[in-house]
């Protein structure tokens, strides 16, 4: 078994009152190239900063070679960082930048005195040692002869190399790279990707890499940690994550994909688009699942011999393949193929069983804790909604003063009653009109499901999430109001022991 060089155990991080890392645990093998991948604000950089020591975890542990380093300051950790904007010291030249870490370092040397006794002495590195090490590091990044240059006279790519040399010259056990290629242009980025990978091979140290670029992650990593919303979504090899995404978010974020709602109809059988398909994943009968089909796994054929039949509605040439959008009934499928089709063609499509990947649906209902107000509305998720309170007591009705009369004739004042609120994603609509709904929130996630979008709307303060399905295209970060019809809000009384 490989040695765990870094291990995070139940790490939680709050910035002031905002939760940014929610109970993250994983380990990194020695010598591995591991990538934290996720959209901006997913917590990947914070995780890296905690490993570097710039941020301290609110709770949980970070172990380095089995030793707890959670609270160790950054200058005491055997890790070095390549920063996003390089963070080269502008007042120092290339040589001095690279030598900075060496000048801070003290090594223990053993000497022998006249009597033959050995003694140890903590010493700074000698000028010669520093010069040699700097030269070696600069050679490694192909910058020999740049020693005397001011960093401001270097190009972006050269500055990037200096930043890498400055970090690796200290011979860290782990090299942390925080989106190091973000500021470079595409061609440069591709070159640096290859060089970094090569450097990783030559140095043999652990690389922890942060990026939001899924292609970069797939190209370079041994292992990818997909993060979203401060939570690890999936850990695996690039191929594992691409072929077997753990949930709709991962499938949507990594590569192109068709994600459709399906229902399990038998052993290794799933129903979507009004047809049963054979697949390789086993789920419980009748379970609602997310079905993922990669666009390159859909095979086009003659209309009559395909499992699905549809009409081509757009064809885009992408260089090495065509991206063809096919409408099957009300569903849209994206197909990638080296063959082209004409818009308006009716084609058949086949999907092999092992190309159909099923994932459990994480969000198929919305649950909230609510409180009944004196107007017989229910308060939850930072808002107030009209609801039918009589469903709490079967056979009850409201009298003219709005008190609840139970079946037995008892008169109840429901004000302050704590209830559980349940709403189906299909019953929620959203609107631009601030006053239209009961509460407001930001769209934090949007995934296309063939014939509709699945959105997650998050309220700003309490961060309650509404999952909903809508045929309309919205934008991420839109601030919208959430509308729920009165009769679609399902209320149940909270069991007594859960009451506070």
């Amino acid at each position: 078994m490989a040695e765990h060089i870094i291990e995070l155990k139940n790490v939680v991080k709050y910035y002031d009152d905002t939760l940014v890392i929610d109970d993250v645990s994983f380990y990194v093998n020695k010598g591995e190239f591991i990538t934290f991948l996720g959209p901006s604000g997913c917590g990947k950089t914070t995780t890296l900063r905690m490993i570097a020591g710039f941020d301290l975890p609110t709770s949980g542990q970070i172990l380095l070679n089995g030793k707890d380093i959670s609270l160790l300051p950054p200058n005491k950790r055997p890790v070095n960082t390549v920063f996003q904007r390089y963070a080269l010291f502008p007042h120092l030249n290339v040589f001095e930048n690279v030598a900075f870490g060496l000048r801070c370092k003290k090594v223990v040397n053993t000497y022998e005195n006249d009597k033959g006794e050995q003694y140890k002495k903590k010493e700074k590195l000698s000028k010669k040692e520093i010069a040699d090490k700097v030269k070696k590091a600069l050679t490694l990044v192909d910058l020999e002869g740049f020693e005397k240059r001011a960093v401001s006279t270097l190009s972006g790519g050269q500055q990037q190399r200096v930043a890498i040399a400055r970090a690796i010259v200290n011979e860290p056990e782990i090299l942390l790279l925080d989106e190091p290629l973000g500021a470079l242009d595409l061609k440069m980025r591709k070159e640096m990707q290859i060089e970094l990978k090569e450097m990783h091979r030559r140095l043999g140290i652990t690389f922890i890499y942060v990026t939001h670029d899924q292609e970069e992650a797939l190209t370079m990593s041994d292992t990818i940690v997909v993060m979203a919303d401060g939570v690890v979504q999936q850990i695996g090899t690039p191929k594992g994550i691409y072929d077997e995404p753990a949930n709709a978010f991962v499938a949507d974020f990594i590569g192109e994909s068709n994600i459709i709602n399906g229902t399990v109809v038998g052993p290794r059988k799933v129903r979507f688009c009004g047809r049963d398909f054979v697949c390789v994943d086993d789920f419980e009968l009748n379970e609602k699942v997310d079905v993922v089909v990669r666009p390159e796994d859909i095979e086009m054929c003659a209309p009559e011999s395909g499992m699905l039949k549809g009409e081509v509605i757009s064809v885009v040439f992408k260089g090495i393949h065509y991206e063809i959008t096919v409408k099957v009934g009300k569903f849209e499928f994206i197909v990638q193929s080296t063959q082209s089709r004409q818009v308006g063609d009716v084609i058949g499509m086949n999907i092999a069983p092992d190309a159909i990947h099923l994932m459990p649906q994480k969000h198929n209902t919305n649950l909230f804790d609510g409180v009944i107000t004196k107007h017989n509305t229910v308060e939850f998720a930072e808002g107030e909604f009209d609801c039918d309170v009589t469903q709490l007591y079967p056979g009850s009705h409201l009298d003219e003063e709005e008190y609840l009369i139970t079946k037995e004739g008892e008169k109840l004042d429901l004000t302050g009653t704590e209830v559980r609120v349940e709403v189906s994603p299909n019953d929620i609509t959203i609107s631009d009109d601030e006053n239209a709904g009961g509460t407001m929130g930001n769209i934090i996630s949007m995934i296309y499901k063939g014939d509709h979008y699945r959105l997650i709307v998050r309220t700003p303060e309490e961060e309650e999430d509404f999952v909903l399905a809508t045929p309309d295209l919205w934008n991420e970060n839109d601030y919208v109001s959430v509308i729920i019809p009165k009769d679609k809000i399902k209320l149940t009384l909270k069991p007594a022991e859960e009451k506070r």
Binding site: A52, G53, N80, R85, A87, F89, P90, H91, C104, A167
Partner: protein
């Protein structure tokens, strides 16, 4: 054409209004007369008198030494304050920012009176120490204000990068942060020197009675009913001229080197 002439005339007029009084003094400083009025022969006697009077020389030395001491201390205090503020949590920083701006906006006479009363209240007699404290109160906020923007311009990750490379926080501060903000520190120091040099109000409230700076001396000398004769006063024409020329040279030098620096950066 006419428009151009009018433009030049307008600017000339403004410059004349701004500089005429100083030029007038400069002209008279090279003249033999002791009172403003009809001009006499060219003479350097005011300068001779200025440099020949040990009392005046001592007072000039006092002023310069006080300015340098107060500015140096304010610069240390203000730079430390700015760095502290910059790395504080936002609420603390905003509060400190507000607190720092009050002495800047506040009328100087209020600060001076408050200082004088405070010294009395805590039983500290007026001395060189109280004078330096007074000048530091005056100068420190300005140092903070000139250092803070430099910190804001600095790449946030530089300090972290230094720590990451094994520097202790202290070493990171001196090796990385200070070199980055040194232009702000220098301009803060210069500002403090200028403020201290020409301060009258705080000086007069905080100084021991036997101590004089240029501004308090001149002010007292020009007061009505003062025993100083016009003859003593006229040597200040020379002093004013010298100060003006020094300031002119310093400003020009600063502007020229600044321009050179910019050119170099553009080239780079």
């Amino acid at each position: 054409m006419i428009k151009k002439c009018l433009k030049a005339f307008y600017i000339g007029l403004i410059l004349l209004v701004l500089y005429a009084p100083i030029l007038l003094l400069a002209v008279y400083s090279f003249n033999e007369v002791d009172t403003l009025g009809p001009m006499g022969e060219f003479s350097l006697k005011h300068y001779a008198k200025l440099f020949g009077d040990p009392a005046i020389l001592e007072m000039i030395a006092n002023t310069v030494v006080l300015a340098l001491v107060a500015a140096a201390l304010s610069t240390i205090l203000g730079t430390a304050g700015a760095i502290g503020m910059f790395y504080s949590k936002r609420r603390t920083r905003n509060l400190m920012n507000g607190v720092n701006q009050i002495p800047v906006i506040n009328a100087e006479i209020v600060t001076a009176l408050a200082l004088a009363i405070t010294f009395v209240a805590i039983g500290v007699g007026k001395s060189y120490f109280t004078l330096v404290v007074g000048h530091m109160v005056l100068c420190t906020p300005f140092v903070v204000l000139s250092v803070l923007p430099k910190l804001k311009q600095m790449d946030h990750s530089l300090y972290e990068a230094a720590l990451d490379l094994g520097a202790s926080p202290m070493k990171a501060l001196f090796k990385v942060v200070l070199p980055e903000i040194i232009p702000g520190i220098i301009s803060g120091f210069m500002l403090a020197v200028t403020l201290s040099l020409d301060d009258y109000i705080i000086t007069s409230y905080c100084k021991p009675s036997t101590f004089s700076t240029i501004s308090t001396y001149v002010y007292n000398a020009t007061m009505k009913g003062n025993v100083h004769t016009a003859e003593t006063l006229s040597s200040f024409w020379a002093l004013t001229t010298i100060i003006f020329v020094i300031i002119l040279i310093v400003t020009l030098a600063a502007n020229l080197t600044g321009r050179k620096h910019e050119k170099k950066e553009v080239k780079g």
